[in-house]
């Protein structure tokens, strides 16, 4: 139930992201909300449930990525969940600084994985350095705003279980 709500919240946020950013005149892909959802799941869920939910998060991201390869984000987010799960054991993702650092690393890694899978599976993909560079602003913005972007998912937890895994984020 909690994982389904997480995915639904992500769907709503992603659907809102494009028109809201359009009104503000900001490029819609500036924030990587699926990555935030995956990191939140890694820091707050059990391994198996979190992994399955992250794969669905990736599928949602695939659905909202026109022209992309279906399954690419599901694969990437599954891998990133496993990575974040390992990092969460060492760095508490409920703290802003570790969260920002883990988000930045994960975002860069996501860009590299996207590049790699595109080369391997997408016949129409043209490997260019610009593709990698375009990921940097998104990684930076997502990492800086990660503590704030955690809040909607933390709200789901508060609503479902009364848990407050991110209560120390804004201290």
């Amino acid at each position: 139930m909690r994982s389904i709500l997480m995915v639904l919240v992500l769907v709503v946020l992603m659907a809102l992201q494009s028109p809201i950013f359009g009104l503000l005149g900001i490029r819609a892909s500036l924030l990587d909300l699926p990555l935030i959802a995956t990191l939140y799941l890694a820091g707050s869920s059990r391994a198996l449930r979190g992994f399955v939910a992250s794969a669905f998060v990736g599928l949602v991201a695939d659905a909202f990525t026109p022209g992309g390869l279906l399954g690419m984000n599901a694969e990437i987010h599954g891998i990133l969940f496993l990575l974040a799960l390992g990092l969460a054991a060492r760095f508490p993702l409920t703290r802003p600084v570790p969260l920002v650092l883990v988000t930045a690393v994960s975002s860069v890694l996501k860009t590299l994985l996207f590049y790699l899978f595109s080369i391997l599976f997408d016949r129409a993909f043209e490997p260019r350095v610009e593709v990698l560079l375009w990921g940097l602003p998104t990684a930076l913005a997502t990492a800086v705003l990660a503590p704030l972007l955690f809040l909607p998912f933390a709200g789901v937890d508060r609503m479902v279980q009364g848990r407050r895994p991110t209560e120390s984020l804004l201290r």
Binding site: A15, F121, D122
Partner: protein, 286 residues
């Protein structure tokens, strides 16, 4: 087997969920193939959702924007009304100047086309109305040399009348429709001489054209111009035209035709006063 799966549940599910997307990517990556069912479903759901959310957000945003736009509306209205009034005034002034410019240009053209005449511009300063709201008499004002009685008053479209009184730069003009008005005229192109007599009709700008009974009848639309024989009005200035020659009548030794005058004095702003001729007037027909 079930025990093994239960024991290795995490590894099995993770491996499956990592291999499955690879298969999906492989299928999707074949761009020459048609869009697969999962792709169509994903695109349809995401597109519908984005449409719904975008529409709702657009409505909320539009309402908020409209509300924000109402702030300062009163001040904007006052400013725009003031600006509108100023622009209307400027447009009317521009139109008035355009009409005035056109009238002056015509007068100038007439001065240039009638170099045989010594013309002096004058401005209409007053109009005396008949009980039927027709202009019965004009007062004009000139700059420069003062007008004299019996000087002709003309415009580009034709003859207006003659000066009957003058004082300084101001003069009263008797119009052609006045019962006292007499103008020596002729039918343009026919050489039929006659006299234009004011009708005295207070309800129309009409005059009567008197010709000898021995002259042939006029045709409809015959144009009457000054003949210059009275030495008041220079020759060749249009006076009017005959609208209904069949309604001619006998008046003593003459035949009379009704003539509609060429100039409507109600619309006059600027006129020309004929101070004299540069060359002697020639009799009509010569």
């Amino acid at each position: 087997m079930i025990d093994w799966l239960a024991r290795h549940r995490f590894s099995v599910i993770v491996t499956t969920l990592l291999i499955l997307p690879l298969g999906l990517m492989f299928v999707s990556g074949r761009r020459d193939s048609a869009t697969s069912l999962p792709e169509r479903v994903a695109m349809g759901v995401a597109g519908w959702l984005q449409g719904v959310v975008g529409g709702a957000l657009g409505g909320v945003s539009g309402a908020a924007t409209d509300y924000v736009a109402l702030v300062g509306l009163h001040e904007d209205n006052v400013r725009l009304r003031s600006e509108n009034e100023r622009l209307i005034a400027e447009a009317l002034e521009g139109k008035r100047l355009a009409v005035e410019n056109q009238a002056l240009r015509r007068l100038l053209e007439m001065r240039q086309s009638r170099r045989d005449l010594d013309l002096m511009p004058a401005t209409v300063i007053a109009r005396e109305l008949t009980p039927f709201f027709r202009v019965g008499r004009l007062s004009v004002e000139t700059e420069g040399s003062p007008p004299q009685p019996d000087q002709a008053v003309v415009t580009m479209t034709g003859l207006v009348g003659r000066v009957i009184r003058a004082s300084g730069g101001t003069a009263d003009v008797m119009l052609l429709g006045d019962t006292r008005s007499r103008v020596a005229t002729e039918v343009l192109g026919r050489g039929i001489l006659g006299m234009m007599v004011g009708s005295g009709n207070p309800d129309a700008y009409l005059a009567r054209f008197q010709v000898s009974q021995t002259e042939p009848p006029l045709e409809k639309g015959a144009v009457i111009v000054t003949s210059g024989h009275d030495r008041v009005f220079p020759r060749g200035i249009e006076v009017g035209y005959v609208p209904r020659p069949e309604e001619r009548r006998q008046a003593g030794p003459f035949v009379e035709y009704d003539v509609i005058l060429a100039v409507n004095p109600a619309s006059l702003q600027d006129v020309l006063v004929v101070r004299g001729t540069a060359s002697p007037l020639r009799p009509a027909g010569q």
